[in-house]
């Protein structure tokens, strides 16, 4: 009887141990935040594909490893070889399309990786030329999203010394949200008024990636559970060709890869509080890198 009691106590201890261990060590994976820093779709040419020299009348392969290092899924990914002179290099396929490339997440912590193969053959050189160098671009186009979230202090009665709540940070800077498009800077401006007040967020968006953001579309913008009224501002803001005019989207020019979003909300309450500011964006992105093939005799 005593022996059984000891066995029962040991079992309880074991169960408790399992629970203790389970509770204590289970958080390491879940606390990894992929949505920080600057990450994007990255490309790597495989060694010898293409080779340094391609001989006349021979076949060759261009093999590209594409890794989505961003924290978001990429949609409609088009990757292609552009600008290769067909007289010297004939490719059987010039473009490959992936409907979806998953971003980094708990399930795919390294992001989606794809290997792209472009097969081709070389032709003859001009007369008795020693070589020909053909330049080309490896180009990628895709659509993706980016989410921003932070805790902000709302304090409509700035001059109320009796309210010792949170302190408004007028300006905050950010290092990225796990995508090439990033919210880099937020200014918070409070306008006190009789009944409550008004809060304005001036959100600076910038492309920190190696490619080019073609356009940005605002998704949802919420302060706590309430929606903010937002619109893009700035002299370079223009609406995408063929779209209905809306201040919720912006086309970015090559020489100015940034945008300013102004979000406002009327406040009903006068007391200070902290709440979450959450905004998500969709964007079209283009990336290109120049390479060359060398045809020799």
């Amino acid at each position: 009887m005593r022996k059984r009691r000891i066995e029962f106590r040991l079992l309880l201890l074991l169960v408790a141990f399992v629970f203790i261990i389970g509770c204590g060590t289970g958080g390491s994976g879940t606390t990894t935040n992929f949505k920080q820093g600057i990450s994007e779709l990255q490309f790597k040419m495989l060694p010898n594909a293409p080779p340094d020299k391609i001989y006349q009348g021979s076949g060759f392969k261009i093999i590209v490893e594409a890794s989505n290092l961003a924290a978001y899924d990429l949609k409609g990914v088009e990757i292609g070889i552009v600008g290769l002179n067909e007289k010297y290099f004939a490719l059987t396929n010039r473009e490959q399309i992936f409907p979806l490339m998953a971003g980094k997440s708990l399930l795919t912590p390294i992001g989606d990786v794809q290997f792209l193969e472009f097969s081709g053959s070389s032709n003859m050189l001009f007369e008795n030329a020693n070589e020909y160098t053909g330049n080309y671009f490896l180009k990628a186009k895709y659509h993706s999203t980016m989410e921003f979230g932070d805790t902000v202090c709302i304090h409509p009665s700035l001059y109320d010394v009796a309210d010792a709540g949170c302190t408004v940070e007028n300006r905050k800077s950010y290092g990225g949200q796990g995508a090439p498009l990033a919210v880099t800077d937020i200014e918070e401006i409070m306008y006190p008024s009789g009944a409550g007040g008004e809060v304005e967020f001036r959100i600076t968006l910038a492309n920190r990636g190696s490619g080019m953001v073609k356009s940005v579309v605002l998704g949802k913008a919420k302060l706590g559970s309430e929606e903010l009224e937002c619109e893009f501002k700035g002299k370079d803001v223009s609406v995408a060709e063929g779209t209905v005019y809306t201040q919720k989207s912006v086309v970015l020019k090559e020489d100015n890869q940034g945008a300013l979003l102004i979000c406002k909300m009327f406040l009903k309450d006068q007391s200070s509080y902290t709440t979450t500011l959450g905004i998500d964006f969709g964007y079209d992105y283009e990336w290109k890198q120049q390479y060359s093939l060398r045809l020799v005799r």
Partner: protein, 595 residues
């Protein structure tokens, strides 16, 4: 005052009298050189270069030597010595690089110079060097620059004409030789001083600018062991003046002022120069009499040709091996031959024909030869020993070519001769290529700028000109809007310009066909004749002889409809070829001695 003093003062008086007389002679000599120079300049300007003018120039050279020795206060004997010996070698011994002649004259010079140097304690070196300056001026006056350009292509550009035509060398030399105080009248002296400054700066500025426009390629001159004679200088000057043609800017300015075009002088001079240049081409090159209907037709044709843009091309940097053709004289070539009086010359003259044919073209070659007496200028027919017609193939071709003079005529041969070898190469083909990038059609300025930038990065050649193998000739062409823009917009009409270029030392004798394969590249002619991309070219006299670019044709072309649908820049290459015959000649000198 004693007798001794009287003698001293007498000697001083004689000395000052002699000095005054010498100074007067010197002034007169300088004036002779100045006026003679002006006279020669005008004479040559009006009547064209001739041997007679050049002989007068030699006489002026002696006056210049005298004036120069006085001006520089150098020993006359030392100043005259090298100049006289050089002139004797050049005119009496016809510039022969012959060991006997060189040793005799060189020995004479060394002996006289040595004796003189002994008595003057080495004071002869400077004046001897001074003496060579008037000789240099003499050669400049009789056409040294023209000859250098003809033989070596060392000068080019628009100011080249001024160098050989617009500088009165002797007049400038005489002007600079005038004493500081040429007259008691201060105004005259000041005017002369002013002229001297202008005279000093004028050729200096011309030469500096001419050097700045010098062509980089210095060709291989014909091998010869005899310096060119006065006739060759005259001929070179005549030929080069033909090329330069037109009237000088100064004459045009005078014409415009005479016609009262004071307000638009610059435009008037430019127009007048263009007109006279075209007239000169018809009159001097095409030998058509001014005022005739044929002349009017020629004027119209040449004006049209001039309006065509003579596009230039570049050598393909990826092709390292050029096509080269030349004759080579080996040690078996007899530089001196002996003939028995009354007997024909039995010597044969062998050379080696060498051709590097890196593009392995199959060529027909026809060889010929002939003899020209250097002094007598008589032509003696030559005969190729063995086969004169050959099929050439392979990458490196080497053939022995032997020439012998016609038997009966060779019985009269005596003295210095040139044997001229010629080869007519038939069926040569030179290929060119032009790289262009086409951008997608768009009206969005920013988008278009991005495409243009991308297209420029894709091009392997940034020059915008066609590239060709370094052959004897090449076809140059450009397509674009403007033609040298390598980025093509499919919504625009494109201009096509072409030209052919003689790259070798010989003559393009026939252009059988030129073809720019625009069809394969998806282009078509929209305005103008199909001749602009495919046709034959009938060459005018001398047109194929000159090195450089000659305009061929022009038209408007358009890209095929499919290019308006492209979404990304596309790189393409347009090919072209020129089929032609080429003539190359080379002469070598030799001497026939009769015993």
């Amino acid at each position: 005052m004693g007798a001794g003093d009287s003698v001293k003062s007498g000697v001083q008086a004689v000395r000052s009298g002699v000095a005054a007389a010498t100074s007067a002679v010197f002034t007169y000599m300088a004036i002779v050189v100045l006026l003679g120079g002006v006279g020669i300049f005008l004479w040559r300007y009006l009547a064209g270069p001739s041997n007679l003018i050049n002989y007068v120039s030699i006489i002026i050279c002696f006056a210049a030597l005298y004036a120069f020795s006085e001006k520089t206060q150098q020993q006359k004997v030392a100043v005259f010595l090298p100049a006289v010996i050089f002139l004797v070698w050049y005119f009496v011994f016809q510039g022969a690089v012959n060991i006997t002649v060189i040793a005799s004259l060189g020995g004479l010079f060394l002996v006289v110079s040595g004796i003189y140097g002994y008595f003057t304690k080495g004071g002869n070196v400077t004046p001897e060097l001074y003496g060579l300056l008037p000789v240099l001026v003499l050669f400049l006056d009789i056409g040294l620059i023209a000859l250098l350009n003809k033989e070596f292509n060392v000068t080019s550009g628009p100011l080249y004409g001024m160098l050989i035509r617009d500088i009165p060398w002797w007049a400038l030399f005489g002007l600079l030789m005038l004493p500081v105080a040429v007259s008691e009248n201060k105004a005259v002296s000041n005017f002369i001083a002013f002229l001297k400054i202008i005279g000093f700066l004028y050729p200096f500025a011309m030469i500096v600018i001419a050097i700045m426009t010098t062509a980089p390629g210095v060709g291989e001159g014909p091998s010869s062991f005899k310096a060119p004679d006065v006739g060759e200088f005259t001929k070179a000057q005549q030929e080069e003046l033909k090329k330069v043609s037109g009237e000088s800017a100064v004459t045009s300015l005078g014409w415009c002022i005479g016609n009262g075009d004071y307000l638009k002088l610059q435009d008037c001079v430019k127009e007048r120069q263009e007109t006279t240049q075209i007239e000169a081409v018809c009159e001097k090159q095409r030998m058509i009499k001014k005022g005739s209907p044929a002349f009017d037709k020629c004027f119209k044709e040449e004006k049209e040709k001039k309006s065509l843009v003579a596009v230039s091309g570049v050598a393909d940097p990826t092709i390292s091996k050029p096509t080269t053709v030349h004759f080579l004289r080996k040690e078996t070539f007899p530089q001196v031959s002996f003939r028995t009086e009354g007997q024909p010359l039995k010597t044969m003259y062998p050379v080696v024909f060498e051709m590097e044919n890196p593009r392995k073209q199959q060529i027909k070659a026809h060889f010929s030869c002939g003899f020209v007496g250097r002094d007598t200028k008589d032509n003696i027919t030559g005969e190729i020993v063995g086969k004169a017609d050959m099929d050439l193939q392979g990458e490196v071709i080497s053939r022995g070519i032997t020439c012998k003079p016609e038997q009966s005529a060779s019985a009269q041969m005596k003295g210095f001769y040139d044997v001229k070898y010629s080869v007519k190469l038939e069926g040569l083909v030179s290929k060119s290529r032009l790289e262009r990038a086409i951008i997608p059609a768009t009206t969005d300025y920013d988008l278009k700028s991005g495409y243009v930038k991308e297209a420029q990065q894709l091009l392997s050649s940034k020059s915008g000109a066609s590239m060709a193998a370094p052959d004897l000739s090449r076809l140059n062409f450009m397509i674009g809007n403007p033609p040298n823009d390598p980025v093509l917009d499919p919504t625009l009409d494109l201009q096509l310009f072409s030209s052919f270029e003689n790259m070798g030392d010989g003559e393009i004798i026939t252009v059988h066909n030129y073809n720019i394969d625009i069809v394969s590249a998806g282009l078509s002619v929209t305005d103008g004749s199909q001749d602009c991309v495919d046709g034959q070219k009938i060459l005018h006299a001398d047109e194929g002889k000159e090195r450089g670019v000659k305009a061929l044709s022009s038209c408007t072309v358009k890209l095929a409809e499919l290019y308006t649908k492209i979404k990304e820049p596309v790189v393409m290459e347009i090919g072209a070829e020129l089929k032609y015959d080429y003539l190359l000649s080379q002469k070598y000198g030799f001497e026939v001695k009769v015993s």
